[in-house]
Point group: C2
Chain length 126, copies 2
DNA sequence: CAGGATCCTATCCGATACTG
DNA sequence: CAGTATCGGATAGGATCCTG
């Protein structure tokens, strides 16, 4: 996805120089925080799911984006993929240890945002 | 940013029905996890920054995207904006309490990913 | 310095159709 | 069922120019 550029920074400007664009972690962060990546990871936290279960869990996602997102996450070793060669075929997805570790902050993030929004609503009703 | 659709779900399929697309928090999550939102928030965690400082901190961001991202974050009350009416003008940005609260999981996420990548590199060198 | 306005391109992403 | 392939519209996002 776009790909980091890995250019080295010249001297004299390391003040606020967090390692943003030129950082290999950029790609993984991009995948994790991508439009659908977030919800795939959060969905898989509760239980392993099959392709169509994921599609139905994440309302509004197209098959294309789901498979694309899953492929990226599998490549990053955040998600595993198991194929049962039956007819019809069954493919199950789940979180790797890394995926579980990484998706934890995601739920925290999500919780904090919804929490706040809920508080806002109550406040508005008063 | 695209905007949630807020369609209500019909009965009979609430199994894995996390509140994804049709959720007001979606918008905020989208802003926070947007391509540049992540880095703006992380950058501001260490200290308040002026516009050009942010631009230089986040390598590769255009002025357009920076101001656009900042505007969204300010609207969500994640970031505050202070204008010093001097010449030349100075505008400073910083995290609100909410922003600090929400960006915390973000750094955790980032740390966990870089951690893992670092471990990978060491492993590869061996 | 901080940005708005404009233009233009790359890509994202959904809809549809097809395959093993 | 679990995808891939292709198309086309929408949007993200960079470059440039301009303003208070």
């Amino acid at each position: 996805m776009a790909g980091g550029m890995h250019f080295k920074r010249a001297e004299g400007e390391q003040r606020y120089d967090v390692f943003h664009t030129d950082c290999p972690a950029r790609d993984v962060v991009d995948h994790v925080t991508s439009r659908w990546g977030v919800w795939v990871l959060i969905s898989l936290r509760s239980t392993d799911l099959r392709f169509y279960e994921l599609r139905e869990s994440i309302r509004g996602i197209s098959e294309k984006m789901l498979s694309q997102t899953l492929r990226a996450l599998v490549e990053d070793d955040l998600v595993w993929r198991r194929v049962e060669p039956t007819t019809p075929p069954q493919v199950t997805y789940g979180l790797t240890e890394f995926g579980r570790h990484v998706s934890e902050p995601l739920t925290l993030l999500f919780d904090r945002i919804t929490e706040r929004l809920a508080a806002r609503d109550v406040e508005a009703d008063a």
